[in-house]
Amino acid sequence: MTKILVVDIEKCSGCRICEVACSWFHEEEFNPAKARLSIVSWKKAAISYPMICEQCEKAPCKEVCPTDAIYKDEESGAWKVDEVKCIGCKFCIQVCPLGAISFFEEKRGAIKCDLCDGDPQCVKFCPMDAIEFVEEDKVGLKKKRISAEKLFATMQEIPK
């Protein structure tokens, strides 16, 4: 069973440690600008949310790639970029609805989340446990529980 990254928005504090851990693991540099995920903060609402590649089942980036450089890694279930095949056309960046693919000046092709080969650093270093790495079938179960809790809270509000 492949695992995916799940974000709990209520837990994220916007500390950006995940970005730093990500850039260190992949680029050996403490540079949030080179991270493969990015925190979007809504300061007035005091809310932050890490935008991560969702590893779409049917991925537009894979579909648009003219050289088939984006392939599914069977072990981790992540879409990966084959640096050797990438021609730098940036079509994948333009079609990703999440804006989750980036590109650096140094020649290394398109850059995207590869789930760190099954050991995501963002999950490891998140001090709030806001990002979790869970098996695909358990995500539904967790979401069911959350919506049930919400429903329960609304039911409480109804005057008897």
Partner: protein
């Protein structure tokens, strides 16, 4: 019947040939080039005009290897030479090294300022060129021409003239009507002579005498994609078989896409 046909088809695909490279015996699929076969063995062969996503071309001649067929010994470009049954090849003989050195020396004379050419020359043991130095910056590897034609499907640029006058440019050396400004040519160029610059409203590709208008992001107003590339990608996403991607997504810059989506998440939890 059908299974028999399938089996035949499979047989065709996986026909293997045996060959020897540097006294190492190996088996590869028919149609594999000598370069790919050598790479599988971990043998390093220098290249300048090769890209694994593109068809082999054989322009730079630095990937030369020796092929021995009976009593005949010849030099061939390994990137274009297909593996054959019983072939014997050598990649590190004196003759190969000398031939490679000459190729890179000639390229170095043509483009003395190119970093990649100089680096490779040093690696192959050429410190200075004996030939008259020119001020060219393009080594005519054809990567840009090939990627535009084969992968982007546009053919905005091509070779013109022959021999010493050969160069790469747009038709009639004027602004290209086909170029979409994706930048694949600039990314692949080994000498980095193709430069792309976004100046406020325009994407400038000076090497191709081309200037493309950029489109504004609907949300932040930053110019981010050439209008022609937007049109090209819109048509491309229409042809996706199983994915339905709304066209509006393309009109928002990737940075704003993140913001819009996270805004939706925020509303979801009632922030």
């Amino acid at each position: 019947m059908q299974s028999a046909k399938l089996a035949m088809k499979n047989e065709k695909v996986t026909k293997m040939v045996k060959l020897t490279i540097n006294n190492k015996k190996m088996e590869v699929e028919e149609g594999t080039t000598l370069l790919e076969a050598a790479q599988k063995l971990g043998i390093e062969i220098p290249t300048l005009c090769h890209h694994s996503a593109l068809k082999p071309y054989g322009a730079c001649r630095v990937c030369l290897v020796e092929v021995i067929k009976g009593s005949k010994v010849g030099l061939v470009a390994s990137c274009t030479y297909p593996a054959e049954e019983g072939l014997v090849a050598k990649t590190d003989t004196k003759r190969v090294k000398r031939a490679r050195r000459l190729s890179i020396e000639l390229l170095l004379a043509r483009c003395p300022t190119s970093e990649k050419v100089r680096e490779l020359a040093l690696k192959l043991g050429v410190k200075k060129t004996r030939f008259k130095e020119e001020k060219e910056e393009c080594i005519l590897c054809g990567l840009c021409v090939r990627v535009c034609e084969e992968m982007i499907g546009k053919s905005a640029i091509s070779f013109i003239n022959r021999g010493a006058d050969r160069e790469v440019t747009t038709p009639f050396k004027i602004e290209s009507s086909e170029c979409i400004g994706c930048g694949a040519c600039a990314y692949l160029c080994p000498t980095e002579v193709i430069k792309i610059e976004d100046v406020i409203k325009y994407r400038k590709l000076d090497f191709w005498n081309t200037k493309l208008e950029l489109k504004k992001c609907k949300v932040c107003g930053r110019y981010f994609i050439p209008t022609v590339e937007l049109k090209y990608l819109k048509e491309k996403i229409k042809s996706f078989e199983e994915i339905e991607l709304p066209e509006e997504v393309l009109e928002v810059c990737p940075k704003c896409r993140r913001r819009i989506l996270s805004d939706k998440m925020k509303e979801f939890i009632g922030g």
